[in-house]
């Protein structure tokens, strides 16, 4: 069942269009409302605009048309006439993102990675930030890695650090962009467990993944995106269990064939 939340949506996307060049249209009109506490998983074929949607939400991309509101405030607006995108960076600070390639800072230790943004952009006291960082690291089973450099960690550990680093800023929405795609298969579970932990705390999240089992387990709502539009949108049992659209069925049968 779709939730019938009457409060203002956490994310509200209207008429979103995005092209990387005149011939490469990646998002061709997306309207989407996401509510606080939603765990929205975006699935679909490569090039379907999933990652771009997340990058746009993080304010990493310009957009051609449309607007996005976050938590009731205007956040991203396309100025079609001037071909510009305005992004409210204050609003952006409420959103965190974890990327496929960890993106840790290689010249800083793990704990320094965690406290850089709190200290340098929020003015938090170093000792306070450090305490919080150690709490996160303990929770994620990385307490003994606090003073090592990222190069000394496995992929799964790096990704857990990246998640902790984003959480240090206390985001209202977390974006996970194929966070297990670069990992060796045996390391995927430890990262997914951390995300499950956050789900239990009701953190709002939007997840792009190729891991259908994970998608089914964690999602409160699934979007199937293809060709730059949302083809199907609903609870996981429906979209993944009994898809209405032919394209969704085709995609799922292909994915599960390869997976099985």
């Amino acid at each position: 069942m779709m939730s019938t939340n009457t409060s203002a949506p956490l994310v509200s996307i209207r008429g979103l269009h995005k092209a990387y060049s005149p011939t490469v249209q990646v998002i061709k009109g997306i309207d989407l409302d996401m509510h606080a506490g939603d765990r929205l998983v975006v699935i679909g074929p490569s090039g379907g605009g999933k990652s771009t949607l997340l990058r746009v939400l993080m304010g990493l991309e310009t957009i051609d048309k449309g607007s996005i509101a976050f938590d009731g405030q205007p956040y991203i607006q396309a100025d079609e006439a001037r071909g510009k995108t305005s992004i409210d960076t204050k609003v952006r600070n409420s959103i965190g993102m974890v990327f496929q390639n960890y993106t840790l800072f290689p010249h800083l230790t793990i704990v320094e990675n965690l406290i850089l943004a709190p200290c340098k952009s929020r003015g938090e006291k170093e000792s306070v930030a450090k305490d919080r960082a150690l709490t996160f690291l303990t929770r994620f089973g990385l307490r003994d890695k606090a003073t090592v450099y990222p190069s000394q960690l496995s992929g799964g550990q790096k990704q857990r650090v990246a998640i902790a680093r984003a959480l240090m800023l206390d985001p209202k929405l977390m974006l996970f962009d194929e966070v297990t795609s670069a990992l060796d298969p045996e390391l995927v579970a430890e990262v997914e467990q951390v995300i499950q932990q956050l789900a239990l705390q009701n953190l709002s999240m939007m997840i792009v993944t190729h891991d259908m089992w994970f998608a089914k387990n964690i999602a409160s709502r699934v979007l199937f995106c293809a060709g730059g539009t949302i083809v199907e949108d609903g609870p996981p049992e429906q979209v993944m269990g009994a898809p209405r659209e032919e394209r969704t069925r085709e995609f799922l049968s292909r994915v599960f064939h390869i997976g099985a």
Partner: protein, 221 residues
């Protein structure tokens, strides 16, 4: 003619004073020049066309003209243009810093290019300001990665610093020249001066290899 190197020892105090000046001018120019070089290196790789063009012209100009001409220009022409008098030392440091900026800019540009664009994405996602991103994320990584080439830039600068003697700064070269003129023993004095430069520059050159292995390995950059 017989050579007597032992007599040079009598002038060791004067030579030491000269060496101190050489080291001081070199260090000051390296510090200022590296900062300037980092800015130029950023501009060189910038997406702004005018910044790129300006930096390129600057770098090519300073690399394509003799350092001694640059030095004389700063010493004689700059005061005329700006209407302020610069001391020998100030103009020496200004000229060498401008030169150091040009040669280190390429080292920084190359180092900055090896930093993945993902690092920028991470900074945006963490809400870091552009300043914080440059200061705490890009600059330290660029410096670490540039260390090998930067060190050889420093060695060149240290050697080129001998040119400041031409505008009357009492550096090692200047002192050496004076002693050699006063004693009419250029072979001994200038050989010793050359050796002093070499004794400092050589370990620095070798140090590049050691640093490369030790510092950079740990960071896997």
């Amino acid at each position: 003619m017989d050579y007597n190197f032992a007599f040079v020892l009598r002038y060791q105090d004067a030579l030491l004073v000269g060496l101190k000046m050489t080291v001081l001018v070199s260090l000051a120019s390296i510090a200022i020049g590296c900062l300037w070089g980092f800015v130029l290196g950023m501009a060189r790789g910038s997406s702004l066309r005018w910044a790129r063009a300006l930096a390129t012209v600057y770098i090519e100009f300073f690399r394509g003209t003799p350092v001694i001409v640059q030095l004389f220009w700063v010493f004689f022409c700059l005061p005329l243009l700006l209407g302020i008098e610069l001391s020998n030392m100030a103009s020496g440091i200004v000229a060498l810093s401008l030169y150091m900026g040009a040669i280190s800019a390429e080292s920084f540009r190359a180092a900055l290019k090896t930093i993945s664009p993902d690092q920028h994405n991470a900074c945006v996602a963490l809400g870091l300001s552009r300043y914080a991103e440059i200061r705490y994320v890009l600059m330290p990584q660029a410096i670490l990665r540039a260390i090998p080439t930067l060190l050889s830039n420093c060695v060149s600068l240290f050697k080129e610093s001998a040119l400041v003697s031409a505008v009357g700064m009492a550096d090692l070269m200047f002192v050496g020249q004076n002693i050699s003129n006063a004693t009419a023993r250029p072979v001994e004095v200038l050989t010793v001066v050359a050796l002093i430069y070499f004794v400092i520059a050589f370990p620095l050159t070798r140090g590049v290899t050691v640093l490369e292995r030790k510092v950079l390995k740990g960071l896997a950059v």
